[in-house]
């Protein structure tokens, strides 16, 4: 076969391969959405990060404003220190709330930022003081079962001794989880 013709076909072949790779990177992968330009880093300490992973999105009002950079364990305070990188275009007040949320019932976890009312804004290296841990499903279920059990316990006591029912209910209310919002 003619050499120029071979060259042409190989050129087409390589160009097709490049186009496929570019398509994979841009259309399929997260190369474009992963780029958030200039960022500043902020840390936040959580008692429990659940299954939060590096590269998880940081959202405010549902809009992605940054990404989780790294998650480390602080052996002095026994807390998880999460470093997040926020896009330089967005400024948040110093008293911003950082919560760990779950997307959907079984979806991935992300950090939600809720802006406070402070005049000063967070800058590189600052620490977010107000945080809320990830919801652990097992903990929630066990709390729910515990509160249900104690309620039933109290009901049984009340029905057994109707004469003392005036003092008991107040005590029942004060048990830690008696009126959990389930």
């Amino acid at each position: 076969m003619d050499r120029t013709k071979i060259d042409l076909w190989v050129g087409i072949f390589v160009a097709l391969g490049m186009a496929a790779l570019l398509g994979l990177a841009m259309k399929v992968g997260n190369l474009t959405s992963g780029k958030i330009g200039e960022t500043y880093a902020v840390t936040a300490a959580f008692e429990n990060v659940g299954s939060l992973k590096p590269h998880a999105p940081v959202k405010s009002a549902g809009v992605a404003v940054g990404r989780v950079d790294s998650i480390a364990f602080n052996s002095k305070t026994y807390e998880a220190v999460v470093t997040i990188k926020i896009d330089k275009r967005y400024n948040f007040p110093k008293d911003t709330f950082a919560n760990i949320y779950t997307a959907g019932l079984l979806g991935e976890q992300y950090i939600g930022l809720e802006a406070g009312g402070d005049e000063d804004v967070l800058s590189n290296g600052d620490k977010i003081a107000k945080t809320q841990d990830a919801v652990v499903l097992e903990k929630m279920i066990s709390q729910f079962l515990f509160s249900k059990a104690s309620e039933m316990d109290n009901d049984a006591k009340i029905s057994a001794k109707p004469s003392e029912s005036e003092s008991k209910p107040a005590e029942a209310k004060s048990t830690e989880l008696g009126d959990a919002p389930f």
Binding site: M1, R3, I6, D7, W9, V10, I12, F13, V14, L16, G17, A19, A20, L21, G23, L24, A25, K27, V28, G29, N30, L31, T32, S33, G34, H55
Partner: protein, 268 residues
Amino acid sequence: MTNSNPLINIIKTLQGIGHRMVERIWRLGAGARLFFLTIVYSGESFKRFHLTMREIYSTGVMSLLIIIVSAFFVGMVLALQGYNTLQKYGSSEAIGVLVSLSLVRELGPVVTALLFAGRAGTAITAEIGLMKTTEQLSAMEMMAVNPIARVVAPRFWAGVISMPILAALFSMVGILGGYIVAVPLIGVDEGAFWSQMQANVDFQSDIVNGIIKSLVFGIACTMIALFEGFDAPPTAEGVSRATTRTVVISSLTVLGLDFVLTSFMLVI
């Protein structure tokens, strides 16, 4: 006569096992030796790049049709099967993630390598085996042309270059096939299809790892095909056996290597 003596039978069986073992190890060593010689003598295949170019044409470009057509159907079947199961759990939008992740991570590199072994590997083995049978390789040596530099190395590099390109094409065409079934035919929302895909496919850990896999498969498949051809007995039967062995060994090697590579990639 000798069959009556059980001791001799046992010895013969052991001899058979030992012979096969030595033979396998010898072939492994000879293959490794050919691999290193190919690397050492591969300067010429870059200096005279048109040699490699011609081989890229016959291994890569000629495999385009089978790769594209099979990728299209694999993608369509994945989408159909995936939708069938996912809609039971009410998450049929995740079909884009399913199709793209299974193609980019596994099916793209593996199926491409299997097809490559069948389409290009056999051709390489048969060609080199026939060159050996008709004593073209010996003739080259007589003319002080190193057959490894002139025949083996360009084919090796052509296979190594072609495989990642073919695998990337396979993944992309497969995703397009899945898109065609999922969006216009089944009616999954187009935005959810692409956005969930983009949210869950990572460039580094999915796409780049897929390319690394296909590169390793390219080296393995091409090297096996070259060695089988180079090692084939110089008879018609020998060449035909070598060609069969190329397909069998390449396929098994690809599947085994895939497991090893995946276990490394998922740990890191």
